[in-house]
């Protein structure tokens, strides 16, 4: 029930991020039925210091079309597949790319 809704909101939030930052190369969604989990790739951030991805956590905001909490992280492109994912995010093969809309 909630996974399709989360996927829809994840795509909306990813679209917002692509538009807000043209330097974002790619965005990946990690499935979860309680939380929107996005990983952005951008070379505007420094490399992670400890080899672990650390998302930022946001509360739901239904007023803005976000009825679920969200966790958003940003890493450099070359770090994709190499860093340790946050606890509970699964494996790198679980990453689903959310493509930039035309």
């Amino acid at each position: 029930m909630s996974l399709p809704m989360i996927e829809q909101e994840a795509k909306m939030l990813a679209a917002e991020n692509y538009k807000a930052d043209p330097d974002t190369a790619r965005i990946y969604w990690f499935r979860d039925d309680r939380e929107i989990r996005l990983l952005e790739l951008s070379d505007r951030v420094p490399a992670e210091q400890d080899g672990i991805i650390h998302p930022f956590y946001f509360n739901p905001s239904p007023q803005d079309g976000l009825s679920f909490p969200s966790a958003v992280a940003v890493i450099r492109q070359e770090e994709f597949g190499k860093l340790e994912l946050p606890e509970g995010w699964g494996d790198w093969k679980d990453a689903v790319e959310v493509r930039r809309s035309a």
Partner: protein, 163 residues
């Protein structure tokens, strides 16, 4: 109280001390010190899930990375009073370099050879050892820049959203 709330609360207190020092004749280093600490804890607070059992990572890079992520958060944009996405992104982008300078004031980043508001350092050009209280931090005090008051206003707003 959870880790997130505690970090935000401590960040607010650091920030309030920084504001109190604005009118004092105390060395400028103390204001910068409290601003750097407030921004670091603000970033770490947002890096912590509500009700998290674990404390946030011991990173000194949370603040600028947080601002990068904030650009794409519609609820943050709305709460900061921006209707236009491009204007909000431009506003955050205009402060990123200055925010990075503040972030790099952390002594763990500056070491003993770069300017920071907490520990003495040795100038590489003439080997002088400088106490922060004797240094004017001209890059931050520069009268021509609006970056400091703009960043202070942004931090205050983000604290209000987080609280």
């Amino acid at each position: 109280m959870g880790w997130r709330e505690a970090f935000i609360k401590q960040s607010r207190s650091d920030f309030d001390i920084m504001r109190k020092l604005e009118g004092d004749r105390m060395p400028y280093a103390h204001r910068l010190h409290y601003l750097q600490m407030a921004t670091e804890k603000l970033g770490k607070g947002w890096m912590t899930k509500a009700n998290a059992k674990e404390h946030p990572p011991a990173s000194h890079q949370a603040f600028v990375r947080m601002l990068q992520v904030m650009k794409g958060q519609p609820h943050v944009r709305r709460q900061l009073g921006y209707n236009n996405r491009d204007h909000f992104s431009a506003y955050i982008n205009s402060l990123l370099d200055f925010a990075l300078a503040v972030q790099n004031l952390a002594p763990a980043v500056a070491g003993f050879t770069r300017q920071n508001p907490e520990y003495p350092w040795r100038e590489t050009t003439n080997s002088d050892v400088i106490a922060p209280v004797d240094f004017d931090f001209p890059n931050f005090m520069s009268a021509g820049t609006r970056k400091m008051p703009d960043l202070v206003k942004l931090v205050d707003s983000l604290l209000r959203i987080a609280e």
